[in-house]
Symmetry: C2
Subunit: 230 residues, 2 copies
DNA sequence: CGTATCGTTGACATTCCTCAAGGGATGTGG
DNA sequence: CCACATCCCTTGAGGAATGTCAACGATACG
């Protein structure tokens, strides 16, 4: 992998902190890999031997209870990174939700490289802080919001966070295609698939939404949706 | 504040990464401050003008919904740090739960110092990664566990994380005093105070617990508790 | 066209929350 | 030292929200 300079996420990923010499060095250590939707990269309790940048696709981070109940604890988009730098085992499973393309590094090499490149660590730190804020907001949603509020919050957040395809305005977007099905929405919100489905059906009945196909969503009344989100 | 070398959390806080010259420089920037239980240091939406190390005491990070429902999204113990380095507003309220002692820095000075001291950023990064893992585990608890499982998990985690007083073995501890009341336990677990109380009462009735006083807990059957925790 | 997967809907069960009352500890003033 | 107030916790009864189980419908795919 030598063409980091033409990378699709160059400028957005943590590598943006590197100059071209450093980039060449890092590029030498990494390899590009495609993974199919459904493929699991890292298992819960694994020694987490890899760090990766996401070039394309959407992945989920999953924590499972002993009896199989699952909670999605993070969603990873293009330009985000995956893995647990500095030697701890992965506390969650990482699974691709769509066909994805990654830029993978051996963890120990990556760690060593990071130690030697403070700018990279700085980027990592900022990203991790942002991710922590997001996780904490989500804790409030999981602990304190009703099913309706959860679904409304989820849709609004997806409208903002979902990667924009070719030349749409990012903020005002109101129609989008979710990269996941009902069960996965339920696993994100800490609900059952049935409750999730009923909430969506009701929102459609109330004219807040259109659901043109299984995974497409059109928010018709953003204002009302924001009120529902609590 | 000049006696960082004799600091109670020297060696455990992020400052452990600094040599004595650097420590002196940082010590120059900071000031010690005591805060009373109940005092709020940082408000949700604040510009988060400070970074602090906790020398003593326990603080909570709280996210509130628009209507006042509260979720505790983090608990901060001695040697942990508070605040949002690198310029974002605080997404949560920070309130002392016990009388506490802090070592406070102006954020912009701290940021500048951190930029110049990669070791410090490295420590910050490691801590933030650990905290993120903890937050994500808690997301699973909030989204997928029952009231009983939540309370049991909470007690076990407190037995491990609560600071140890004078010369007790850290791991095997089974009796401890919680630094918070029932309402705050409820706010940590995403439950109501009544449900929390009922769970504790039931565990006591089943011989899993003793509750010698309002805030004291003695785990009598750790094994059974671990099973209840799911 | 048939089959598998996913989503929706309904009936019912359960958990947890809400509202209300009472109990126990702690602190204060008399 | 006692009476009283306050705060926090516990307990109970009833209800609402969500989960469970089951059947059916729709969509995608071979």
């Amino acid at each position: 992998m030598s063409d980091c300079s033409s990378c699709t996420v160059r400028g957005r990923a943590i590598c943006a902190s590197l100059d071209s010499a450093e980039l060449a060095e890092l590029g030498h250590m990494g390899r590009r890999q495609r993974v199919k939707a459904g493929h699991t990269l890292l298992w819960e309790g694994d020694d987490a031997p890899l760090i990766a940048n996401v070039l394309r696709g959407v992945l989920k981070l999953v924590v499972a209870a002993t009896d199989g109940r699952e909670q999605i604890v993070g969603i990873v988009f293009a330009s985000d990174f995956i893995g647990r730098p500095f030697g701890k085992e992965s506390p969650y499973r990482v699974t691709a939700m769509t066909d994805s393309e990654l830029c993978i590094y051996n963890r120990s090499s990556f760690d060593a490289f990071a130690e030697a490149h403070p700018h990279l660590q700085h980027k990592l730190l900022r990203r991790t802080l942002d991710e922590l804020d997001r996780a904490r907001y989500w804790m409030m949603l999981l602990g304190r919001k009703s099913a309706t509020e959860k679904v409304a919050s989820f849709l609004l957040q997806m409208a903002e966070r979902l990667p924009v395809e070719a030349g749409e305005p990012a903020r005002s977007r109101t129609a989008f295609e979710l990269p996941f099905g009902r069960q996965q929405i339920a696993d994100i919100l800490g609900l059952t698939i049935e409750t999730t489905s009923r909430q969506l059906t009701r929102m459609r009945a109330n004219g807040l939404l259109d659901l043109p196909s299984r995974r497409e969503v059109v928010i018709r009344d953003r204002r009302a949706m924001a009120i529902l989100a609590g």
